[in-house]
C-alpha cells in the first residue's frame, strides 16, 4: 500500500480549495489568477492519476477509503472512497479542470479572481460528490456545487445571465429539498448516513414499503433534474447558452447519472426496478425528443444542449435496463461523453469568442480560415455520433446491444434511431459551420486555435481515439466497479431480497466486450 493512499482523496479535495483561496487573496494582476488556477488544476489532475495507478482492480468495496467521524450528532462522518464506478469519474473531473481553465484563458477578461476561485471551489464540490460515501457529506457537496455555478452563470452570462442563473439554481435546488427529507427520514429510521451501512440495512431491513418507495422517488427526482431526464430538462438550454464554457461542460450529465447509479439503483434496487419501465420510456422519449429538437436549433449552444439531453437519455436507458453489462456501458458512455462534450464546448467557445455570436446561420465556410478548429471539430463530431474506433461507439454499442438482448427489443430499436438522428444534427452542424459558401464572418480575420486551446484539445482528441481503440484499459476496472451494485456482494445471505432480473446474476459480463 502506497503511503499516499490514505490521504490522496483528501488532497484531491483540498488542493483546489487551497488554490481558490490563493486566487482570492493574491492580486488580480496580469494573468496571475489564470496561472494559479491552471497550476492548481494540473496538480489536482496529477493527484487524481494516483488513483488508477494504485487502484487494485477486481477488489470489491471501496479503496483509498477514509472514514472519520466529523459531527457526532447526527452522526455525520467524513467518509470518502472510490470504487471503480467513481474512479474514472474523478479522473475525468480532474482532466476537465485544466481544459476548462485553458478554454477560459482569453475569454474571461474581467473579475478573473472571482471566476477562477469559484471555478476551483466548484472543482472541490464535484470531487466531493464523486467520492463521498456519507449521505450528508454527499448532500453537502451536491448543494455546494450549485452556488458557484449559479453565481458564475449570472456574472458571465452572454445575454441573459441572471435569468438563466436563477432558473438553473431553482431547478436544481428545489428538488434537493425532498432529497434532504428523504435522507433525514432514512437517518431517523436507521441512525446512519453511511452509504455502505445503509445499503446493507436497506437490503435486509423491513421498512414500510410505501415510505421507502417515496424515499427512493425523492432521490430519483433530485438526480433526474440534474441529469436532466425528459421532461425535467427545462433549465438545460438556457444554462448551456449562458454559462461560461468551463462551467457548461461540467454542469449536466455525469454528476446526476453517477448519483442515480450509486444512490438510487445502488440503495434502492427493488424500487429502481419498479420505476425502471417508466425511466426506460422517459429515456427513449428523451433520446428522440432531444435529437429532434437539436435538429431545429438556430443557436449552437442550444443544439448542443438538446444533443446532450439525447445522449444522457441513452445512459438513462442503460442504467434502468438494470443489467450489469448495461451499467458498464453506462459508465463508459458517461466518461466518453465527458471527453467529447468537453472538446466540443472548447471548440464552440473558441468560435464564439472569435466571432461573437452563437447563431449557426452566421457561420459558414470556416474550414478554410480555421483549419485546425475544423479538424478538431470533425474528430469530436465523429466521436459524438458514435463512429467505430472512436470513444462513444463502445458505450453506445454496449448499451444498445444489451438493451436489445436483455431488456426490450422495441425500446432498443427506438433508441437506435438516435444514432441516425445524432449523425444528422451533428454533421449538419459541421456542414453549416465549416463548409459551404463563405459567410461574412469568415472574411473577418481571426486567429486559428491558440496554443492554450490546442493544449486543451489534443489530449481530449487522443483520448477519444484511445477510448475507441482500447476500451479495455477502462472497461476492465469499470467492470469491477459495478460490483457494489451487484446483488451478491451486499446481500450475501438473502440474495432474493433484491428483485433484480434473474438474468443479471447469470449473465457473463464478457459478452459485450467482443
Amino acid at each position: 500500500m502506497n503511503v499516499y493512499d490514505p490521504i490522496i482523496l483528501t488532497l484531491i479535495l483540498l488542493v483546489p480549495l487551497a488554490g481558490a483561496a490563493l486566487v482570492a487573496f493574491l492580486p488580480d494582476r496580469a494573468k496571475l489568477p489564470n496561472w494559479i488556477a491552471l497550476f492548481t488544476s494540473l496538480v489536482t489532475f496529477a493527484f487524481t492519476l494516483h488513483l488508477p495507478a494504485h487502484f487494485i482492480s477486481g477488489q470489491p468495496g471501496f479503496q483509498f477509503e477514509v472514514n472519520r467521524p466529523w459531527i457526532e450528532n447526527p452522526a455525520i462522518a467524513y467518509h470518502v472512497g472510490v470504487d471503480s464506478l467513481s474512479l474514472w469519474l474523478v479522473v475525468l473531473t480532474g482532466l476537465l479542470a485544466p481544459v476548462g481553465v485553458l478554454a477560459s484563458w482569453n475569454v474571461i477578461q474581467s473579475r478573473r479572481k472571482v471566476f477562477y476561485s469559484l471555478f476551483l471551489v466548484q472543482q472541490t464540490a464535484m470531487f466531493g460528490v464523486f467520492i463521498s460515501l456519507d449521505l450528508m457529506l454527499y448532500y453537502g457537496f451536491w448543494e455546494l456545487s450549485l452556488a458557484p455555478m449559479a453565481v458564475l452563470i449570472a456574472m458571465y452570462g452572454r445575454k441573459n445571465g441572471p435569468r438563466a442563473a436563477l432558473k438553473f439554481f431553482l431547478f436544481t435546488f428545489i428538488p434537493s429539498a425532498p432529497l434532504l427529507v428523504a435522507i433525514l427520514w432514512l437517518y431517523s429510521r436507521t441512525g446512519s448516513f453511511d452509504f455502505t451501512t445503509l445499503q446493507v440495512l436497506l437490503a435486509h431491513g423491513s421498512f414500510p414499503s410505501g415510505a421507502i418507495f417515496w424515499v427512493s422517488l425523492a432521490f430519483l427526482f433530485a438526480f433526474a433534474v440534474k441529469v436532466p431526464v425528459f421532461p425535467l430538462h427545462g433549465w438545460l438550454g438556457d444554462t448551456f447558452a449562458e454559462a461560461p464554457v468551463a462551467m457548461a461542460m461540467v454542469v449536466a450529465g455525469k454528476m446526476g447519472l453517477y448519483s442515480m447509479l450509486r444512490f438510487h439503483v445502488g440503495l434502492f434496487p427493488a424500487q429502481a426496478r419498479y420505476v425502471a419501465p417508466v425511466m426506460i420510456a422517459l429515456g427513449v422519449i428523451g433520446i428522440l425528443y432531444g435529437a429532434g429538437l437539436a435538429l431545429v436549433q438556430r443557436d449552437f449552444w442550444r443544439l448542443l444542449a438538446f444533443g446532450a439531453l439525447s445522449h444522457f437519455s441513452l445512459v438513462i436507458l442503460a442504467i434502468y435496463g438494470l443489467t450489469v453489462t448495461g451499467w458498464n456501458g453506462a459508465v463508459y458512455q458517461i466518461l466518453s461523453l465527458g471527453v467529447v462534450e468537453g472538446a466540443i464546448f472548447v471548440l464552440l467557445g473558441a468560435l464564439e469568442s472569435r466571432y461573437g455570436t452563437s447563431e449557426i446561420a452566421a457561420y459558414g465556410g470556416m474550414a478554410a480560415r480555421l483549419p485546425h478548429t475544423a479538424t478538431y471539430f470533425v474528430i469530436a463530431t465523429l466521436t459524438m455520433i458514435g463512429l467505430p474506433l472512436l470513444g462513444n461507439f463502445i458505450g453506445e454499442f454496449i448499451i444498445l446491444s444489451t438493451t436489445f438482448t436483455e431488456v426490450s427489443r422495441g425500446w432498443a430499436i427506438a433508441a437506435a434511431v438516435s444514432v441516425i438522428l445524432s449523425a444528422s444534427y451533428m454533421l449538419w452542424l459541421v456542414q453549416r459551420l465549416f463548409y459551404g459558401p463563405e459567410s461574412a464572418l469568415a472574411e473577418r480575420p481571426a486567429p486559428d486555435l491558440r496554443f492554450g486551446e490546442l493544449a486543451a484539445l489534443t489530449p481530449l482528441a487522443v483520448l477519444m481515439l484511445a477510448m475507441g481503440v482500447a476500451p479495455n484499459l477502462w472497461l476492465n476496472s469499470i467492470q469491477s466497479g459495478v460490483h457494489p451494485l451487484e446483488v451478491k456482494d451486499f446481500a450475501h445471505e438473502h440474495p432474493t431480497v433484491l428483485i433484480l432480473p434473474s438474468i443479471v446474476l447469470n449473465h457473463s459480463t464478457r459478452g459485450a466486450r467482443r
Partner: protein, 504 residues
C-alpha cells in the same frame, strides 16, 4: 435570599452598570465632545457580561432570588448568544452612527439596557419577572426603532412597533393573569406541576393561547408579523441587525420555556397550533419576500420565514426540539446580523441604497463587501458548510423525527422558494455596475465594523463546519429544560434500529 444569589444575575448586573455608566458619562460630558468612546465602553461591558455568563457555568445550576431566576446551560447559551449579538451591533454602530448625532450616548445606553432585558428574559422562571424583562427589552427597542427622527419613516416605525408591541404584551400579561387564576402561581415549575391539576382546564388553555400570541408577536411569526417589514424599513440598519436577532432569540428562549417547561401537559394543544404557525410563517414570509423591491423589507419577510423554520423544530420531541431551536437561533443570528452589517455599510445609517437594484455592481464597487453579502445570502439560503444549513438541518430533522414529515417537506420547499429572492439580491450585486453609479460612495470599513463582520463570518462558518461545540451547548441547554427520560433514546439518534432478521 443569600448573597451568592447575585451571581445568578451577574451578566445582567454588569450590563446594567455599563448602561448606567454610559448614561451618566453622557450627561456629564460637555455637549461638543465626541460620544464615540461611550460605544467602546458599551462593547467592553458587553464583553465582560459575556464572560460572566460563561463563568456562570461554574456555578451549581439552579434558581436564585426565591425561585425567580435560574442559571443553567440553557440560560448561558442564550446569554452568550444575546451578548454576542449586542457586541456585534455595538461595534457596527460605532462606525456607522453619524458623528454629529446628539443622541449617540443614549443610543449605546439603550442598546445595553435592551440587552439587560433580553438576558433576564432567558433566565427568568417566574412569569412576572418574565413580563418585566420583556418590557425592559421592548421599551429600549421601541426607542431604538425610531432613531431616525429626521425621516418620516423612523417615528412611524417606532410608533407602530410600540402600539402593536404593547398590544401583544397585553395579551401576554392577560395570559399570565389567567394562569395565575387557574393555578394560583406564576412560577414556571409550579405551573408545570399544578396546570394539569387545575379544575378549569379551559382557563389554562386560553391562558396558554394568549401567552403564545404575545410571544409569537415578538418573534414575528405569521399571522402576528404585520409590524415587521415597516419597522425594519424605518429603523436604522444597525438597529435592525439587533432587532431582528437578539429580542427574537430571547423570545424564542421564552417560548421554549413556556411550551416545554411550563405546559408539557398541553402538548396536544400547542403542538398543532405551532405547526400551523410554522407553516404560515414560512409560506407567508417567503411569498411576500419574493415581491419586495426594498432590501430591508425583503429581509424582514425573510426573517418571518426563518421564524417559521425555527418553529418547525418544535414539532420534534422536547430535548431534540429545544436543541435544534437553540442552534437555529444561533445560526440565524450569526448570518442575519452579518447581512445587516453589510447592508449598513453599503447603504449607510440613512439608507442611501434602499432598493435591491441599488446593490447592482456591489461586487465590482466593493469586492470585499460584495463577497460578504453573497456569503451571508448563501448561508441564508442554506447551502452546506454554512451555519444556515445546519440550522435548517437540525430543525427539519427534529420535525422529521417528531413525525411531522409534511412540515419538513413544506419547510424545505419553502427554502427552495426563498432561494429565489436571496439569489436575486446576490445576482444583482454580481452584475456589472451601470455607468451612472460611480457617484455612489465607496463604503469604508473601520476596525470596529471589521471586527464585527469578522465575528459574523467566523460564527457562520464555524456553525457550518464544526457545529459540534454549539450543538453540545444547545443539547446541554435542552437537557436542563427537559431532562431526557431513561426510556427515551439519546438526542437525534434513531428511534428504531433495523434488525437484520426483520425481513423474515
Amino acid at each position: 435570599m443569600n448573597h451568592s444569589d447575585i451571581y445568578r444575575i451577574l451578566p445582567e448586573v454588569i450590563l446594567t452598570l455599563t448602561g448606567v455608566a454610559i448614561m451618566l458619562i453622557d450627561a456629564t460630558l460637555p455637549p461638543n465632545w465626541p460620544r464615540r468612546p461611550l460605544g467602546w465602553v458599551g462593547a467592553i461591558g458587553t464583553t465582560i457580561a459575556l464572560w460572566a455568563s460563561l463563568w456562570q457555568l461554574s456555578l451549581p445550576q439552579g434558581a436564585g432570588f426565591f425561585g425567580t431566576v435560574e442559571t443553567s446551560y440553557f440560560t448561558v447559551f442564550f446569554h452568550v448568544l444575546i451578548c454576542g449579538i449586542i457586541l456585534v451591533a455595538l461595534l457596527l454602530s460605532l462606525d456607522t452612527l453619524p458623528a454629529q448625532s446628539h443622541h449617540q450616548g443614549e443610543f449605546y445606553a439603550l442598546v445595553v439596557f435592551g440587552a439587560v432585558g433580553m438576558c433576564l428574559l432567558t433566565s427568568a422562571i417566574e412569569l412576572l419577572v418574565v413580563f418585566i424583562a420583556l418590557e425592559i427589552s421592548s421599551i429600549s427597542t421601541y426607542i431604538l426603532a425610531g432613531y431616525r427622527k429626521s425621516t418620516g419613516r423612523g417615528p412611524e416605525a417606532a410608533l407602530k412597533y410600540f402600539l402593536l408591541g404593547s398590544f401583544a404584551t397585553a395579551f401576554l400579561l392577560y395570559g399570565i393573569a389567567l394562569i395565575f387564576g387557574a393555578t394560583g402561581t406564576t412560577q414556571i415549575y409550579e405551573i408545570a406541576r399544578l396546570a394539569p391539576l387545575a379544575q378549569n382546564q379551559v382557563l389554562v388553555v386560553v391562558a396558554v393561547a394568549m401567552m403564545l400570541v404575545g410571544i409569537l408577536f415578538k418573534v414575528s411569526a405569521a399571522p402576528f408579523h404585520i409590524w415587521t417589514p415597516d419597522v425594519y424599513e424605518g429603523a436604522p440598519s444597525p438597529v435592525v441587525a439587533l432587532l431582528s436577532t437578539a429580542p427574537k432569540a430571547a423570545a424564542f428562549a421564552l417560548l421554549l420555556r413556556i411550551v416545554y417547561e411550563a405546559f408539557p401537559s398541553l402538548h396536544s394543544f400547542w403542538s398543532p397550533l405551532l405547526w400551523v404557525v410554522a407553516v404560515l410563517s414560512m409560506t407567508v414570509g417567503n411569498l411576500a419576500a419574493l415581491r419586495q423591491q426594498n432590501v430591508k423589507r425583503m429581509l424582514a419577510y425573510s426573517s418571518i420565514a426563518h421564524a417559521g423554520y425555527l418553529l418547525a423544530a418544535l414539532a420534534g420531541a422536547a430535548d431534540i426540539g429545544i436543541a435544534a431551536a437553540s442552534f437555529y437561533a444561533a445560526a440565524y443570528a450569526a448570518m442575519n446580523v452579518g447581512i445587516f452589517a453589510v447592508i449598513t455599510l453599503v447603504s449607510g445609517y440613512d439608507d442611501k441604497c434602499p432598493l435591491i437594484d441599488d446593490f447592482r455592481g456591489l461586487l465590482y464597487r466593493a469586492p470585499m463587501l460584495g463577497s460578504l453579502l453573497i456569503f451571508f445570502l448563501i448561508s441564508l439560503i442554506g447551502i452546506p458548510f454554512t451555519g444556515g444549513f445546519f440550522g435548517k438541518f437540525y430543525s427539519f430533522s427534529s420535525a422529521v423525527d417528531g413525525g411531522a414529515i409534511a412540515l419538513a417537506i413544506i419547510g424545505l420547499l419553502n427554502s427552495g422558494l426563498a432561494a429565489a429572492y436571496y439569489l436575486r439580491l446576490a445576482v444583482v450585486s454580481a452584475q456589472r455596475p451601470t455607468a451612472d453609479e460611480s457617484a455612489v460612495p465607496r463604503p469604508a470599513v473601520g476596525i470596529a465594523v471589521g471586527a464585527a463582520l469578522g465575528m459574523c463570518v467566523a460564527a457562520t462558518l464555524a456553525l457550518g463546519i464544526v457545529p459540534n461545540t454549539t450543538l453540545h451547548a444547545a443539547q446541554n441547554g435542552a437537557h436542563t429544560l427537559q431532562p431526557p427520560p431513561e426510556t427515551q433514546p439519546p438526542v437525534l439518534t434513531p428511534a428504531v434500529e433495523v434488525e437484520p432478521q426483520a425481513s423474515h
